[in-house]
Subunit: 222 residues, 2 copies
DNA sequence: GTCTATATTGTGATAGAC
DNA sequence: GTCTATCACAATATAGAC
């Protein structure tokens, strides 16, 4: 993606190869996550990277390209995980366990990622298209649609003993990611409404790691 | 909140009382919802309201105050509903039905509200405090905390017949609002990943109105 | 590659006529 | 109350020395 300018012959740089570009990218990541694309300032990113503002343009040409690169990079990590786990060979309950564990761990380590991503997708929906093209290498919704058949079969198996309607696989997937992502995205609101400090919020998430799989098991196997 | 400048004696206005202020507020609402606070431009709001940019400052003094007013107004509609339904006298399943129906209807009418609100809370968490003060008229988390005792009792009743652990009421509430709000906030992503056009997305939500209560019933009454 | 200017435009906000 | 004109500064982007 990022075309590092040609550094041909003689020794010009003061830093190791690609180090500066990386530092800028990491700084941009932090700033865009907390300020959003529109609210972020190139100057703040430069300061956070410990370089001059001009270098940002040297490496990334424009704010639009830089913010685009950050968004694609952060967002494209999440989709393959989803497709890999849900499309895999595990039994349904193990898929739920794996997905809940993976996502809750990821977001515990990067608590502001969900808020940032939802915010960006809301205000720049056109970037979502580019994202999926990157993540899947072509056709957008060939990422998840193929796994629905398998999921539907697994759900039907799970509830076959009962007079219960099987959950449509789309709703199942939407529920799963809603329950994993939303609490982080809505953290400011939840913390205040539920009266949670940082420790209590962490405890809520920790409890959720066992609660969510149990919640789904009950919903699926009555 | 908005202190309309004193229009004392003689006939100065060309429009009816408060009409202009309202038009500005409505225009601001639309623009802030689609651009976000940081991305919105006063000029765009003025154009959308059909007035001059100076009038915005006349009525609301600054962009910060205007965006704050919009946020408080939009967000404070949602919390009383939650407290009223969950804290009411209905049996648990009826509470679930009422909340799902209310929220899904509201967001169907205002599909971009969740994305806007989450985005704002993420990038301006300090406003959440002011919001809860407004919505509750004082103590922040006295809004929901009092209803947890009742909810816990209802949940325990619901699952008493089985060897099933009762769901902690906090998790229950988080699940409920996650499942209602998230699909709207993540609509751009869901639409692409699931391959939904507008009609199919609407159908997904429609299906959800019956699916979610059923999902909870199964999870609570195995 | 990295820096210090600087160009240039965007944007919130105010002054003052009507 | 509403407008036009304008100010002051913020912010992206570029030029050019080192």
């Amino acid at each position: 993606m990022s075309k590092t300018p040609a550094s041909k012959a003689r020794r010009p740089a003061q830093r190791a190869d690609g180090e500066t570009e990386q530092r800028i990218l990491e700084a941009a990541r932090r700033v865009f996550i907390r300020r959003g694309t529109a609210g972020a300032r190139m100057q703040e990113i430069a300061a956070e990277a410990g370089v001059n503002q001009a270098l940002l343009h040297y490496y990334f040409r424009s704010k639009d390209r830089l913010s685009g690169a950050v968004f694609i990079q952060l967002a494209s990590r999440l989709f393959p995980t989803l497709a890999r786990i849900l499309g895999g060979e595990l039994p349904l309950e193990a898929k739920i366990d794996a997905l809940v564990a993976t996502y809750l761990d990821t977001f515990t380590q990067h608590p502001f990622l969900p808020g940032y991503l939802l915010s960006e997708m809301h205000h720049n929906p056109e970037r979502v298209a580019k994202l999926l093209a990157t993540a899947t290498g072509g056709d957008p919704h060939q990422l998840l649609v193929p796994v629905f058949a398998t999921l539907a079969k697994q759900i039907k198996q799970q509830v076959r003993a009962k007079r219960m309607r099987p959950i449509p696989p789309q709703q199942f997937v939407v529920n799963l990611i809603s329950l994993c992502i939303f609490p982080f995205a809505a953290r400011p609101m939840l913390s205040l409404v539920l009266g949670l400090d940082d420790a209590r919020f962490a405890a809520l998430i920790e409890e959720r790691k066992t609660h969510l799989p149990e919640f789904f098991r009950n919903a699926l196997r009555p």
